[in-house]
């Protein structure tokens, strides 16, 4: 049996050795070995602890406290060193786990909307905001809806097969969206405020400004007391909303069988705001649509009384508006669906 002083010395020596070994460890694995050597079951300090029972009450207390303090000191050193080594090792591991952030991403990108759809939605939204409903109808129509109800009698030039693509006698691809006006008016009584987007067809050969398939948006308002001034105000509001707050419209006399009075509408060029530039042919204005007061014959054709209600109608070519808005020079681009062309559009 060794004396107590010897035992104390042993504990102190073990503690110093353990702390040294902990401090010198360079890997978490080495640290774990140091832990086993210092406070494991087979460590000298653990053996000493088992020998406490053979000591005097006083010695047992002294040595017990010493052993406990030594253990706490060693454990604190282990924790501290472990934290250091773990951080260092993780750092080293991350160094090997690298990615080139500039490589192309895993694709989550949306596609691009078609300019015609963008423009249709924008036009429609302006009018929906002004309290219009959206009306739609078939693309193949009878002559009644395409022409007769629109004050275009049988001998009207546009009704010949030369301009209209007929499917059978009296049935043709609609040359304008106006049949939907007629359907809308026949389905309900005034007041009626509708905007009609849709595909139309004319026997025009493809060139830079013509396409046999194209899109229109037209609008119709029939109510008591609707005036030409209301038409002007509505379209001025529309032009500002679509082309920008600085733009203005101007009305020129024109002729359409289904309106009286009739007008062609120019919008100030969105590029130069009316000053004149290359994109508007130095005139400052771009023609965008036709409009007018609904012809009394059309009102009568759908069973309305022209003495009781009046209305205005307007119609614009979507491709034309898109060409003005985006500066597109050739209408054929809309139907080629070249991915590189579509990539230009957003919204």
């Amino acid at each position: 049996m060794s004396d107590i002083a010897g035992l104390i010395q042993t504990v102190e020596r073990e503690q110093v050795a353990a702390l040294e070994r902990i401090a010198l460890s360079t890997k978490v694995a080495e640290l774990e070995e140091a832990e086993i050597a210092a406070i494991g079951r087979k460590a000298p300090m653990s053996a000493l602890k088992r020998e406490l029972g053979g000591l005097s009450e006083e010695d047992r207390r002294t040595l017990g406290r010493l052993l406990n303090d030594a253990r706490l000191t060693i454990e604190a050193a282990l924790d501290g060193r472990r934290g250091q080594l773990q951080a260092r090792e993780e750092e080293a591991a991350l160094q090997h786990d690298s990615a080139d952030i500039t490589l192309p991403p895993r694709l989550r990108a949306p596609g691009h909307p078609h300019p015609i759809s963008i423009v249709i939605d924008r036009i429609v939204d302006v009018f929906v905001g002004m309290g219009y409903r959206v009306a739609e109808g078939p693309e193949v129509e009878t002559d009644f809806y395409s022409f007769e109800a629109l004050n275009m009698p049988a001998d009207h030039p546009a009704r010949s097969g030369f301009d209209t693509m007929y499917l059978s006698e009296g049935v043709a691809l609609r040359p304008h969206t106006s049949p939907v006006q007629v359907r809308a008016m026949m389905e309900q009584s005034p007041p009626i405020y509708v905007v009609v987007p849709g595909r139309c067809y004319r026997r025009d050969s493809f060139d830079a400004s013509h396409s046999p398939v194209f899109h229109q948006v037209e609008g119709l308002a029939v109510d008591r007391g609707i005036s030409f001034a209301d038409l002007k105000g509505t379209l001025a509001e529309f032009a500002r909303a679509l082309f920008g707050p600085e733009e203005r419209v101007r009305f020129r006399p024109s002729y359409f069988p289904f309106t009286e009075p009739s007008a062609e509408i120019d919008v100030s060029c969105p590029t130069c705001h009316g000053a004149g530039c290359a994109s508007c042919g130095w005139s400052g204005w771009l023609e965008i649509m036709g409009a007018g007061m609904v012809h009394p014959n059309e009102l009568r054709a759908v069973g309305y009384d022209p003495q009781d209600v009046s209305g205005f109608a307007f119609g614009m070519g979507v491709e034309r508006v898109a060409m003005v808005a985006y500066g597109i020079k050739d209408i054929r681009q809309f139907f080629e669906n070249d991915m590189r062309f579509l990539a230009g559009f957003a919204g």
Partner: protein, 795 residues
């Protein structure tokens, strides 16, 4: 309509700048096309006289012409043949410039140097006429600048006249509008015609057998004429208006047509049998050779002008060659008539013959202008060609059309325009454009439109006249006051959602033509009966290429992909939402809304591992649609369809109805279009999808824990994952919350022709915590159900 400024000013004393007047007129009456300073861009073009014309030794289509320019005689190679020795022509000398910037230099044509160029009217920007060299008046001095000779110190204004305003197809008509707009007097002198000698009825007769087609026919006879060239001033105006001078008599009729808008025709009296004029319907199949040397075949609705024996003109459109006026002509019968607009329009359209005369007659000539126009021609003939006008006229008119008064309600006009305009102002505006305001009260005007305004027939027509003369610009901008609610319908909203969802999957939006080629299915090698063979063919297509209404959207997307790939675009990802057509039971075809998608080429960002598209990209888009719309009960069933890869496609079934197809394009079809790799495609009818879309609901978040169990089932390759999943789900009973496929394994452990599908089942009870026993029991049912199908559970 091209109007020269100097001519216009004969009828209205307007002093303002031509450009300003033209701009203002565009806002009040008729659309301005352009204002041209004549002769702009021309330099170095002088008058030459043709000396002789010889063939080119090396070329049949050009000739060698010696031209005397006053200072030399030079050889010019020319492609036109409409001139002869003595004719004066414009010669662009080497160094000359023509409008549009073309510069002329000496150059060899088939081995022979051309020392300049003879010009057509189009080359000098005088008109669109390029059918021959412009022949100048015989008194044009040799070597003179053509700008002077052609009166190119004038301004020409071109207007785009709408089809309802025949009156504006004349210088006087435009002048009348200018006068009304500027508050100036409009003056058109009445022609005075001294008549001499025999009565016209002794020289010729007129019989009208088709009074419907020809309500008025007036003839005059003029004898002893000298038909040379017309004077330079007249030629200049004709050329500026876009017409080619021919001979004095013809030029004078054309001049009056331009001046007053009324077409006239001169027959060589000596060549008329009778001499008599008979106006009748054509006999079906009757033939006439018109002035342009084309034989025309007629129909019974055509109005014919005949002499005692044969047809001599297609009424209101073009004269016949037999009775044409020539340089030898001394006596003429002058026709001034009014023909039925619709009859002339129909004939002109059928013959494909659009002339200055037909355009005016089909829009509606002025029946009251008939005598005045004839008199104006006589006046000019006497002045230019000499001769004698026979006494009297042969004027056959069935019934003079009675002018119909139109009542204008003053208050209603102001209401319709949206601004209050005093009655007196309305009356004076209407008066300024020739309307006869016969009486007025405080509430209304009685207006008789002039005979040259066939477009004015109802009150609204007068409202338009007032609105435009008041000026559209001055009308205020207001908004309709009626209360209303706008918005989109459910379907319209959902369609926008579908677009956003598809854009979100990385597809870009296409718009393809709804008209397709009937030969496309052949190109794709499709069988004779196939859904992509459209059954609706246009009667009047523009071309074979665009003659069939599309029965589906995918063919159009395939063509778009083909075009992109051909243009070296490496990745194509497109969708389209559009109308498809099928024969219907009604007179109208059946129209449906369809959505199609296509992915081909390289996948963007493909370096991550997946470099191309396949069937699962196609089904992925479908999945996006069902998730986006909240559609639960949609399934894809294996199927056979020739345009698809036979083992990589499926039918899309919604509530038991087949609504589309999804998968990979058949490699043979991809090859036919030169599209490399797998092409992922799909198309479904949209309306059933929209109908099945569910409204948003707040789901209940489960409060009790779930139990998860995995099971791997070994099934034959063709069993179909969706079917296996539904067997598993059905067997798992009411407690199963979800069944998720998480692994697909093919290999030794599954066995040849077999596949192992691993599912994770989540069990949960809504009201309490589930026990392990309950999950185990449910899994037992799954195991036996799998066994009953002859499948194995993988241990």
């Amino acid at each position: 309509m091209r109007v020269s400024w100097s001519w216009l000013r004969e009828f209205v004393p307007v002093e303002a700048a031509p450009e300003d007047v033209a701009d203002r007129l565009s806002m009040r009456a008729v659309k301005l096309e352009r204002v041209e300073q004549l002769g702009a861009g021309i330099s170095g073009v002088i008058v030459g006289a043709v000396v002789d014309v010889r063939p080119h030794p090396q070329a049949d289509n050009v000739v060698l012409v010696n031209v005397d320019t006053g200072t030399d005689v030079r050889e010019i190679v020319c492609g036109a043949h409409n001139y002869g020795p003595g004719d004066r022509v414009p010669v662009a000398m080497p160094g000359a410039t023509l409008p549009g910037g073309m510069e002329i230099s000496e150059r060899a044509v088939r081995g022979i140097t051309s020392h300049g160029m003879m010009c057509s009217a189009r080359e000098l920007h005088l008109s669109e006429d390029h059918s021959g060299i412009l022949i100048l008046p015989p008194d044009a001095p040799l070597g003179a600048d053509v700008r002077t000779v052609l009166g190119l110190d004038d301004v020409v204004i071109e207007f785009d006249v709408t089809s309802n305003r025949p009156d504006l197809l004349s210088v006087a008509g435009i002048a009348r509008e200018v006068a009304a707009m500027e508050g100036l007097p409009f003056r058109i002198p009445s022609p005075s015609v001294p008549e001499k000698g025999a009565a016209v009825s002794e020289r010729a007769g007129v019989t009208v057998k088709d009074a419907k087609g020809c309500p008025r026919y007036l003839a005059r006879v003029i004898t002893g004429l000298r038909n040379g060239s017309s004077p330079g001033w007249m030629q200049r105006r004709l050329v500026a208006a876009g017409m080619r001078p021919i001979s004095a008599i013809v030029d004078i009729t054309n001049y009056v047509l331009l001046e007053r808008g009324h077409p006239l025709h001169a027959f060589d009296l000596a060549k008329l049998d009778g001499p008599a004029i008979v106006v009748r319907r054509a006999k079906k199949g009757e033939r006439i050779t018109t002035l342009d040397d084309v034989e025309r075949v007629l129909e019974s609705d055509d109005v014919m002008i005949c002499d005692a024996k044969r047809a001599v003109a297609v009424a209101g459109i073009m004269g016949g060659g037999d009775t044409e006026v020539s340089t030898e002509t001394t006596d003429i019968l002058l026709e001034s008539a009014y023909f039925d607009p619709q009859r002339i329009a129909a004939t002109a359209r059928r013959l494909g013959l659009r002339t200055e005369a037909s355009v005016r007659f089909e829009r509606g000539a002025d029946v009251e202008a008939v005598p005045g126009a004839a008199d104006r021609v006589c006046e000019l003939l006497l002045e230019i060609c000499g001769g004698t006008v026979a006494t009297g006229v042969l004027d056959v008119m069935a019934r003079r059309p009675k002018p119909k008064p139109v009542r204008l309600d003053i208050a209603r006009a102001s209401t319709l325009i949206g601004v209050s305009i005093p009655a007196a102002d309305m009356a004076s505006m209407l008066g300024s454009i020739g309307m006869d305001v016969t009486s007025s009260s405080r509430t209304s005007l009685r207006v008789i439109p002039p005979s040259f305004r066939p477009d004015v027939a109802i009150e609204e027509d007068l409202v338009e006249e007032i609105a435009r003369l008041y000026a559209y610009d001055r009308i205020p901008e207001t908004l309709p006051t009626g209360g209303r609610t706008g918005g989109l319908t459910r379907d319209q909203r959902l369609r926008r959602l579908v677009r956003r969802v598809l854009l979100g999957t990385g597809l870009s939006e296409a718009q393809t033509l709804s008209l397709t080629s009937p030969s496309l299915p052949d190109r794709l090698g499709l069988p004779a009966e196939h859904a992509w063979r459209g059954k609706l063919t246009l009667q009047t297509p523009l071309s074979e290429e665009e003659s069939v209404l599309r029965p589906a959207l995918l063919p159009g997307l395939l063509l778009a992909a083909e075009r992109n790939i051909a243009r070296r675009v490496r990745s194509v990802a497109l969708f389209e939402i559009g109308t498809v057509f099928a024969p219907g039971n009604d007179i109208l075809p059946k129209e449906g809304l369809s959505v199609a998608w296509l992915m081909a080429g390289e996948m963007p960002g493909g370096w991550h591992g997946e470099r191309g598209y396949d069937v699962f990209d196609a089904t992925g888009v479908l999945h996006a649609l069902t998730e986006g719309l909240g559609i639960g009960d949609l399934s894809v069933e294996p199927s056979q369809e020739v345009v698809f890869h036979p083992n990589r496609n499926g039918l899309v079934v919604l509530n038991g109805a087949r609504i589309g197809q999804v998968g990979e394009l058949h490699p043979r079809i991809a090859r036919a279009l030169d599209i490399p790799g797998r092409v992922a495609v799909g198309e479904v009818l949209l309306n059933p999808m929209l109908a099945a879309a569910r409204e948003s609901v707040v789901p209940e978040i489960p409060r009790f824990p779930a139990i998860e169990r995995d099971i791997a089932v070994i099934v034959p390759d063709d069993a179909g994952a969706m079917r296996v999943e539904s067997v598993v789900r059905d067997a798992a009973g009411a407690l199963v919350e979800s069944v998720q496929l998480f692994d697909v394994y093919r290999g030794a452990q599954a066995g040849e022709g077999q596949v192992s599908l691993a599912f994770r089942l989540t069990f949960r009870h809504g009201e309490r915590t589930l026990t392990d026993d309950e999950a185990t029991s449910a899994m037992g049912s799954v195991t036996s159900a799998v066994g009953e199908r002859g499948w194995r559970v993988r241990e």
